[in-house]
């Protein structure tokens, strides 16, 4: 594009079936690591584009977003009929850099424990710094972006929109940044395990999974009978001591609209539980007809 060319402000075509940001107002990311991701972008852009990008993300203009071998590929609906194609890539770490990082992570079990439990450890950046690299993009060249739109600026608002949506993915999955840096969760964990054991890992043998099922032809002798007595089989139908134990175990679901999954489904769980209890202890219909 020639410098100084002036575009008249365009209006985006309203997208259908796009991905709307979970956050509809206020800050975009909930966790500190996702905020770091957003900040990396915000340093590079003017506030106007950022604000339009946020609005795009919230309206659902991002039509798709995928992880590819080269990084992130997204499609964003702009003012033209054909959606714009976007790429976001972070420079991967070298194998040597990763080795150093993983050495650092192996020193404290807390890194693995929190990552596996879905949390980015606070001290993780120190582990990366010790290896003289940074986990999050810190410089301009750490973050490569590209958009098929006619805007001269890069990052443009379309990139910003995709970046924000990506931020919410970070919230849910701390390993995303690792993947973008070139290592999957499995790779990182395997390396960590090796260091814990202090030895090379023996080749894993795969257990063959098969389902035990006796062919029907071999069951003819007691075809109608129970395969084993059910005498000791005990069922206790009771309401839970603590309501919705599984929902509580899962924790907050950030993608669920307000007031959150526990409030939304509370009534339903109670109703279902009470109905189950009622049916379980309901008497037989007295009017059952008999032949006589």
């Amino acid at each position: 594009m020639p410098y100084g060319f002036w575009f008249k402000p365009t209006k985006a075509i309203q997208a259908r079936g796009g991905i709307k940001a979970q956050s509809q107002r206020g800050a975009f990311a909930k966790n500190w690591w996702a905020q770091r991701w957003i900040a990396a972008l915000e340093r590079l852009m003017d506030s106007g584009r950022l604000s339009r990008g946020r609005s795009y993300a919230r309206k659902g203009q991002v039509l798709s977003i995928e992880e590819t071998r080269e990084g992130i590929a997204a499609r964003v609906q702009g003012s033209q009929r054909t959606p714009y194609k976007i790429k976001i890539r972070i420079a991967p770490l070298t194998d040597a850099q990763w080795d150093k990082v993983i050495d650092g992570l192996a020193e404290q079990a807390i890194f693995s424990a929190q990552l596996l439990a879905g949390e980015m450890p606070q001290e993780i950046e120190q582990a990366f710094e010790a290896a003289k690299v940074s986990l999050f993009p810190s410089q301009r060249y750490d973050l490569e972006t590209d958009c098929s739109c006619p805007d001269y600026a890069n990052p443009c608002k379309h990139i910003a929109a995709a970046h924000y949506i990506l931020g919410e993915r970070f919230d849910e999955d701390p390993f995303l940044i690792f993947r973008l840096r070139g290592r999957t969760q499995e790779q990182v964990m395997q390396e960590l395990r090796k260091r814990r054991a202090g030895a090379d890992e023996a080749a894993e043998e795969d257990a063959e999974e098969f389902e035990a099922s006796i062919p029907l032809e071999d069951c003819i002798a007691n075809y109608w009978e129970l395969g084993a007595p059910l005498e000791g089989f005990s069922v206790a139908i009771r309401l839970p001591a603590i309501e919705m134990p599984l929902i509580k175990r899962l924790g907050a679901a950030t993608f669920i609209p307000d007031p959150g999954i526990e409030s939304l489904l509370g009534d339903a769980y109670q109703t279902i539980g009470r109905k189950a209890l009622q049916i379980a202890f309901q008497e037989q219909k007295e009017d059952s007809k008999t032949e006589k």
Partner: protein, 1030 residues
């Protein structure tokens, strides 16, 4: 009869096809010659039509079909073993053939009540098949899951992720669930996976069961939760909201674009991360908190991995860190990536209990040291949260014991001296006193205040750790202040408390630690709990006969409960002598007091009244009996006068019901019910009037396993000890339904604790009993004639004797024999004498209704067989009449839901051998074997039977003994009971008495069957055959 089946059909949406086999159709015809057409499925030849299903089982739904592969021979499916039928089918080498089944289809919601209630049907002609019981249990598990909120909203990809469905997904990951699911998988009857599917894929029990659980939980939750579905405000129309909405719609499809679905699925997956944070189906992460030896030292929290099916298998964290392989294995279970799982669990637990974070600074964390207040927080707050998330938590053993926290101790003291216990009733009052306690240690107010001052939640007292939290201290202070520390309660309440019936009892917010009873009350409670400690009584002096040791025990037990005015249920197996134990008690009572203060009312089935009369006469002739029966029986004042001075009044249930008013006006010493199952229906008038009879004590006798029939148990207990088990509705909700439908172990245990002191049941196989019992026990079964039988009998005697008087020689002999024959037939059954059987040309047997209630002997046989069958025993029935044998063969299956086979002179050798082999060897063989005395009296080996009935008599002990020996011979490992029927007042009783009184002589005289009777003089003969009506 009908056997009701349930077939689970996974087709969208899942539901149950109910269908039934029936034996009320002509025998299906096997066609050996005709080659089976392979591919085509035939209509099942003896399945009930849908109209019948609707009528009989009260099913209301659409008619549908299924094709099932069933074992079949020559094109006819083999009936399931529950179906009682007399079809002579070739059962050799069955193959699986497809059959079309017609039935009634019900969706998940509508099929539940059918599954849950039809398993407990009491009508023996409507039998639930194992597959029905199986799906009933599986649906009970689904109900447990729903009631306990153990399900999650799930987002399930279908069609390779092109579409997503919103589903309610059961999560069965409690410690015992893996074992329960494995048990259900092995228990699945083969027929449950016999459906012919389009893809023709093999269906494993695992697949079928999980498909069922998933489908039922989803369908039920969807339907029941519909009215409580969340409403979203306008503008909140996100894919997530649509997913939530789709959880409550019939169509589970989540309506969103592929990119939205993909994004939703990613968010959903992240949310699910913590679902299995504690482990998997086989293993879980566990924490063990260990108390220090001394108060000042730190507590240790150890990290471990625990096997779910074997909680004692614990792998410490340092072992896990040493593992270089990617999986732990134990007894065929694999735990993949144990290190990562342990780390994940620790990461999650650190959020609930922040001190854990500190321990993770190292490379290979294994444990954490915490101080006392940290330990307390972990025990009180963290442990329940961790357990809720599926972690194993091993707390010090004292933590959950009652002694580890403040509680109360109840001291119960009797007010009376033990001296006059005869008038003891459940309403008597006893004093109680509450004491504050720590376990077994009582606390004084001063001691308590010293402890409270420590202000530490965990304190060590005499080497024992004890928790003292603010709430409990508060409750304890209130306890002292309110001063409600003593009062009085009824003996009934004290007994319930003492027997542990009310474990959830609390006093002012504090748990009841212990119930202490002292003096005679303590002894009494101890004896109630452990009847071994009871005093063994000598048998009454006047008893003619010797009590066996277990009978002496039973009689002492009856006397013990009687002493305290408690009702007792003697539920010994048939043949163990409930009668003699009861008679001994009454005799002892009379011997102790010189004379009984009031008569005893003994109610028995009509058919057994005479039996009681004979037995009392035999064992305790000093007891004065009054029999209340007959059309001209006394009522009101006259009856009261008549029973005065008598020891026992015998009557039957129907008479007791009819004369309720007269009987209620008498103060009885005791009311004793024989065959107490006669009051099993609490709502019946008979039960209600009998309950109102006044008595100082009550006894119920029954030979059926009363502890397994809960409504019967309640009704009998309510008669014996009114109010003890609570009201009927309350009892059903607390015990019957949880135990009968769901095998609820906690409820069963509590009920057992409550009832054990009042029920004594010994079975013949009890080691203590078996050594006391002779190998062969012979009993006379006395029964009555019905009015119809008596009329026929007298007519025959009158007519025949007249003709006998006029004849002599061969003619006379012929007439006598013919009269004997006719009289014996009448004693058996009027229908046999009248030859009303086999009238129907179609070969249909005489309808049940025409046989029921017309013969005292048949009624009595039925009562005895009921007990034989309830105990799972097998019986031989000998008769000399083929016609009677056939009647029994046709009557018994319908009346008692028991298969029979009949061997007689006309049975071909091959069939005969098959019957014997079947009876001896097959698990599912008919348990009743009817034999004609001539054809089956010799040669056969039928040791699987331990009951022998001689329905009519040959008057030749040698012949009868020989027949008895079919069962009582080498190979017989149990005691054999021989029941010989004797119709009272008839020639049967007269001849039986004659043989008994001159046994030695008789052998020679009567050796040749009944001929000796023909030698009697006419007067003698008249004396023998004339009916003595009592």
């Amino acid at each position: 009869m009908y056997v009701l089946h349930a077939h689970y059909q996974p087709e969208n949406p899942g539901g149950i096809l109910f269908w039934a086999e029936t034996s009320d159709v002509p025998a299906p015809k096997q066609r050996p010659k005709q080659a089976a057409k392979k591919s085509k499925s035939r209509l099942h030849p003896f399945s009930a039509d849908t109209a019948t299903l609707k009528n009989i089982f009260n099913l209301d739904g659409a008619s549908k079909t299924a094709t099932l592969r069933l074992p079949a021979v020559h094109g006819v499916p083999l009936p399931s073993p529950q179906l009682v039928q007399n079809w002579e089918l070739d059962t050799q080498k069955p193959k699986l053939d497809p059959f079309l089944i017609k039935g009634i289809w019900l969706n998940a919601v509508d099929s539940l009540p059918v599954l849950l209630t039809h398993t407990a049907t009491t009508d023996p002609s409507l039998s639930p098949a194992p597959d029905l019981r199986y799906w009933s249990m599986a649906s009970a598990l689904a109900l447990e899951t729903l009631a306990a909120h153990k399900l999650i909203p799930a987002l399930v990809p279908v069609d390779d992720g092109k579409t997503y469905h919103a589903r309610w997904l059961p999560v069965l990951d409690a410690a015992k669930d893996a074992a329960r699911l494995a048990q259900l998988e092995t228990a699945m009857p083969a027929v449950c996976r016999a459906a012919v599917t389009k893809a023709d894929l093999p269906q494993s029990p695992h697949m079928v069961l999980h498909n069922f659980l998933n489908a039922f939980c989803d369908l039920l939750a969807r339907s029941w939760g519909k009215n409580a579905a969340p409403r979203f405000y306008l503008g909140a129309d996100t894919p997530a909201a649509r997913w939530v909405e789709a959880l409550f719609r019939e169509d589970p499809t989540v309506k969103a674009s592929p990119a939205q679905l993909q994004s939703l699925a990613a968010s959903y997956k992240a949310w699910m991360r913590n679902l299995h944070v504690a482990g998997d189906a086989a293993f879980r992460i566990a924490f063990r908190l260990q108390a220090p030896a001394l108060q000042k030292e730190p507590w240790q929290l150890h990290y471990l991995i625990q096997a779910k099916d074997d909680p004692s298998l614990l792998i410490p964290a340092d072992e896990v860190w040493k593992k270089t392989k990617g999986a732990l294995t134990h007894l065929g279970h694999r735990f993949e990536q144990p290190q990562e799982k342990l780390l994940t669990g620790l990461g999650y637990a650190a959020r609930l209990f922040p001190p854990i974070t500190g321990s993770l600074k190292g490379k290979r964390p294994t444990e954490l040291a915490v101080d006392t207040s940290g330990a307390y927080t972990f025990l009180r707050e963290t442990a329940p949260l961790l357990e809720g998330a599926g972690f194993g938590v091993l707390v010090p053993p004292w933590w959950n014991k009652r002694g580890a926290r403040l509680g109360v101790k109840v001291k119960i003291k009797s007010r009376q001296e033990a001296g006059a216990p005869g008038k003891m009733t459940m309403e008597n009052l006893v004093n109680y006193q509450w004491k504050l306690s720590l376990g077994e240690t009582e606390l004084t107010e001063k001691e308590f205040k010293t402890l409270a001052k420590l202000k530490s939640p965990l304190v060590q007292i005499r080497g024992q750790w004890v928790s003292l939290d603010a709430e409990q201290i508060e409750a304890a202070i209130k306890f002292w202040e309110e001063g409600q520390t003593q009062g009085e309660m009824s003996l009934l309440e004290a007994m319930k408390l003492g027997l542990g019936g009310e474990t959830r009892e609390e006093a002012g917010g504090l748990p009841v630690d212990e119930v202490v009873t002292d003096g005679w009350l303590g002894e009494w409670m101890e004896q109630l709990r452990q009847s071994d400690r009871m005093e063994q009584l000598d048998q009454p002096i006047g008893l003619l006969g010797q009590l066996r040791p277990y009978q002496q025990y039973g009689y002492s037990w009856l006397a013990f409960l009687r002493k305290w005015g408690l009702g007792a249920c003697l539920a010994d197996d048939m043949g163990l002598g409930k009668t003699i134990q009861t008679i001994s008690l009454l005799l002892r009572e009379k011997e102790k007091l010189g004379k009984l203060p009031a008569p005893v009312l003994l109610i028995a089935p009509t058919s057994v009244v005479t039996n009681w009369e004979r037995e009392i006469g035999r064992f305790a002739p000093s007891l004065q009996i009054f029999i209340h029966r007959g059309a001209d029986r006394l009522r009101g004042h006259e009856l009261r006068r008549a029973v005065k001075g008598k020891d026992i009044m015998l009557t039957s249930y129907p008479v007791a019901r009819l004369d309720a008013e007269s009987l209620q006006s008498i103060n009885w010493l005791a009311v004793i019910l024989d065959e107490a199952q006669n009051i099993k229906n609490p709502a019946a008038r008979q039960t209600q009037v009998i309950r109102k009879f006044n008595a100082e004590f009550r006894i119920a006798l029954t030979g059926t396993p009363v502890e397994n029939r809960l409504s019967e148990l309640w009704s009998i207990m309510h008669f014996l000890n009114p109010g003890y088990l609570g009201g009927r509705t309350q009892f059903r909700a607390n015990f019957s339904l949880p135990i009968e439908r769901y095998h609820d172990e906690a409820a069963l245990k509590q009920l057992k604790q409550l009832t054990t002191p009042f029920i004594l049941r010994r079975v013949k196989t009890d080691p203590r009993v078996i050594t006391d019992l002779p190998e062969k026990v012979e009993t006379k079964i006395y029964c009555n004639l019905t009015e119809e039988q008596a009329t026929l009998y007298e007519a025959v005697v009158q007519d025949a004797m007249k003709r006998i008087e006029e004849e002599d020689g061969i003619q006379r002999r012929g007439l006598v024999l013919s009269m004997l024959m006719q009289l014996k037939q009448i004693c058996n059954h009027p229908v046999q004498y009248l030859h009303q059987t086999r009238k129907n040309k179609k070969g249909d047997s005489t309808p049940l209704a025409d046989l029921t209630g017309r013969s005292g002997k048949l009624e009595r046989l039925g009562e005895l067989l009921e007990e034989v069958l309830a105990a799972g025993d097998r019986a031989l029935i000998f008769t000399q009449f083929a016609e009677m044998g056939e009647m029994l063969m046709n009557y018994l299956p319908g009346a008692f839901h028991a298969a029979t086979q009949f061997l007689h002179g006309g049975t071909p050798t091959k069939a005969r051998d098959r019957m014997v082999k079947r009876f001896q060897e097959e698990e599912r063989a008919p348990s009743i074997f009817i034999l004609s005395l001539k054809a089956g009296g010799t040669g056969l080996n039928l040791t699987r039977a331990n009951h022998v009935f001689h329905f009519d008599r040959w008057w030749n002990p040698a012949v009868e003994d020989q027949a008895t020996d079919r069962a009582f011979r080498i190979g017989q490992k149990r005691n054999v009971q021989v029941h010989k029927f004797v119709t009272t007042g008839t020639l049967e009783e007269m001849i039986d008495d004659m043989i008994e009184s001159k046994k030695g002589l008789a052998q020679a005289v009567i050796g040749s069957g009944e001929n000796w009777i023909t030698e009697m003089s006419t007067d003698e003969l008249r004396r023998v055959v004339t009916l003595r009506r009592s």
